[in-house]
């Protein structure tokens, strides 16, 4: 039972990382390699706030907000100038990540930092004692998905987002301010990255190179998701479950390689994303 919970949590961890990436790719056609840098900023901002005595949950929000501001700046100064050259945004966002990691190294040092969980208790779930904080990750991931779903499905903003995804030129022609849409998209993506970074801090071990290990599976998951929320959830679950099951029952050494291999095969089978069967 506790293994089942592990699977859920690992999927939620990957999902949290993937959400920001997926939104930015889906609406902007930008693969945001700055994600790991943004997550690092989120966790260091939260850490700094927490060390100053700010309540843990408030500190997580501080982390998200700091990353959001940074995302707005990056969009305005860099990303906006590269809309016509999508492959270049890959390079520029990687540059942003490098710069952020170096800035963090300069101010905080290279060493790992400790970020304490707000509670270390275990709670009984489905007949087993399970660390409460890990459950929080699960709840948070699915709360974010639920909010995003409701926004996309039922609000005016969601409608605009779906329009831009379907046909950007047409949306612009109908008077949608696509520049503003991109700006807000990148802001939301960054907020989510910061939120994920801060929230995962206590269980991931904080350092400037934070979350780089999650980046390869995260990008594969985004490609695999095929631009729907359900796809993001499915892809995160498939990859996280593969990694966890394989390392538990077979061989932890090859878990990363097997996960990537599974992703690579699935990408071939579902070129349009997991939620759509291959066009025959």
């Amino acid at each position: 039972m506790s293994f089942f919970l592990d699977l859920l949590i690992e999927s939620s961890v990957l999902l949290l990382v993937v959400l920001g990436l997926g939104i930015i790719l889906g609406l902007m056609d930008v693969i945001n390699l700055a994600q790991s840098g943004f997550m690092a900023v989120g966790v260091y901002a939260a850490l700094t706030a927490a060390h100053r005595g700010v309540n843990f949950w408030l500190a997580v929000l501080v982390g998200a907000a700091a990353t959001g501001v940074l995302g707005l700046l990056a969009e305005w100064a860099i990303i906006r100038r590269l809309y016509a050259r999508p492959l270049e945004t890959l390079l520029a966002t990687w540059g942003i990540s490098l710069v952020l990691v170096q800035l963090i190294s300069i101010y905080f040092g290279h060493g790992p930092q400790s970020f304490d969980e707000p509670f270390v208790t275990a709670v009984p779930v489905l007949g087993v004692q399970y660390p409460a904080y890990r459950l929080v990750i699960f709840v948070a991931a699915f709360a974010v998905v639920a909010v995003l779903y409701l926004v996309v499905r039922f609000t005016r903003w969601g409608l605009i987002a779906r329009m831009v995804m379907a046909n950007q030129a047409l949306a612009a022609g109908l008077g949608i301010n696509t520049v503003r849409v991109r700006q807000v998209t990148f802001l939301i993506g960054s907020l989510l990255a910061g939120f994920a970074g801060a929230l995962l801090g206590p269980i991931q071990g904080v350092s400037p190179y934070y979350a780089t290990a999650l980046i390869a599976p995260a990008f594969l998951a985004v490609l695999l998701a095929g631009r729907t929320l359900l796809g993001l959830v499915l892809a995160s679950a498939v990859l996280a479950v593969t990694a966890t099951v394989f390392s538990r029952y077979f061989n932890p050494v090859y878990a990363t390689a097997v996960t990537v291999a599974v992703a690579v095969v699935l990408l071939r089978l579902f070129p349009e994303g997991l939620t759509r069967w291959r066009r025959s």
């Binding site: 540059g95 490098l98 990363t256 071939r268 070129p271």
Partner: protein
Amino acid sequence: MAAVLTRLRTDRSLAVRAGTLLLAAAVAATGPLWGDRFTVYLLTQAFLYAALAISLDLVWGYTGILDLGHAVWFGIGALTVGVMTTKLDATGMVASVHGGPGTYLLAGLLAVVIAAVAAAVVGLYCFSWRGSTMFYVAIVTLAVSVVCEALYLELRWTGGDNGLFGYQLRALDPTGWFYLCLVFFAVVATLAYVLVRSDFGLLMRAIRDNEERARFLGFEVDLVKISVLAGGAALAASAGAMYGSLLGLVSSPLFGFLFSTEIVIWVAIGGRGTLFGAAIGAIALQFFSSSLNQSFPDQWQLVVGLAFIAVVVFVPDGIVPPAWRLLDRLVGRGASHGPTRRLVARPAAVGRTAAGPLARVEELLFGYGALQVLRGISLEVGRGELLCVIGPNGAGKSTLMAVMSDGRMRHKGTITYSVDGVRDHAGISVSALARAGVMRKFQTPSLFRGLTVAETILLASRRGGYLSPLRRTAEIAVPAPVVALCEATGLDRHLGDRGTELSHGLKQALELAATIAAWPDLLLLDEPTAGLNSHERGVIGDILKTLVRDHGRSVVLIEHDFDFVDQLADRIVVLQDGRILAVGSTSEIKHDESVRGGYLGITGATA
């Protein structure tokens, strides 16, 4: 030799560049005379990094494949040498080193083969299916890099955490190594230079600029991309093998994503697609970072990161091309362009006189999703016939051409050709059809950003055939109508200009010239005169007549201007709502009541 000297005298821009290169080469070659031990050691390594950067420049800068795992191929080189020259003890540490220069050489060759095969497999996966975007190869190579780095740490035979070490080839002293690496770099750079100037180099740039168009010219784009990736990997592995033999060291970061992106940064900052920029970027950044890394490691990395972003956003060509231009302005006044290629007419093969139609379309049905565009079209195109397709917008004219030129668009009904190598067109790719002699010209010009007019025509004239990776064709042999077209439209005065910088009329002329240069049996021309004035139309009309009457080519032409059609067409097909409304000679069509009412909008007495 004399010719070279003359060119250097008349072309100051070239002279300045050659002088700069010679100066740089002289400074580098005399390194052991002016530098201390540490400098010589840094330069020796930097030459290998420069060779590595050039290998990435071929793959990314010239062919447009963003390889974010290029370090893996380099790592394979260093690791193969390490594995073949060391023995591990029970704890996985290096216990002894063995092997003479022969072992190192063999290991190097083996590494080249392993890397080329591995890269070909990655390329096969990334390129060989439709719908793979440019992001794909970037993310997949990134993933390969991350996995290799992780696996390296876990495996035993790689030395795990410690890596393999102490296996440097001791047969050479530092000065010997310096010159060996310099020569290695010079060989790699020369090979790369010959390649990018060759006819094959043109194809690499064409694929980078407009992959789809290259397919329609008959080239097997996926195969070319796979070969370039494999070739780049082989070069990188040879540099890696040299690196391993020089330092006697390999560990997991050599395979990693961070090192991969470092190579990308060298090439981007120096200037992608210039070779020289990639080499200079690698040498300079490597040299400075080794000196500065000790005192200010984080600050230096920060500066590199900021410079990288700035280059990507503001100077996407990198530092070197603007620097060349500056040099030209300072000293190279009156700079001429290099020798441009010329067109020469060659006797063109006359169409075969076999009986029967060249193309036959039967009961063709095609739709995009729920929208049915072609609803049962049957027509024939005879040899040496000019068939005009007219009809209102949305009738399915362009879609008909799209399906005829691409056997992989799913349709119902049959299309058969009687050209070399292809009969039933179902399942035949665009490039195979083009090679067989069915070629399409798009409605809107779709050219190669980095290619000149002459280069575009040269590529097209090969129709997907062999392009030498060594030779640079200066005289382009094309069928006489191409020369006539170029002269009549004034395109011949722009042979050295880039296709995408021409006026609209010249772009259309170039598209048509390229299509004719390929000398297909069947030309599918989608509004070749769109946006042209009446003089230009007349010129194109005459050329098309010559093609059909004198050379036995067959042409299917989509046109809106009925007067133009009236002068040219052997037969006319009128399409409406995906069906054929009428077929016949111009006079038959003009008198056809349904056409007159439905399309031409003429009522009453005939002219």
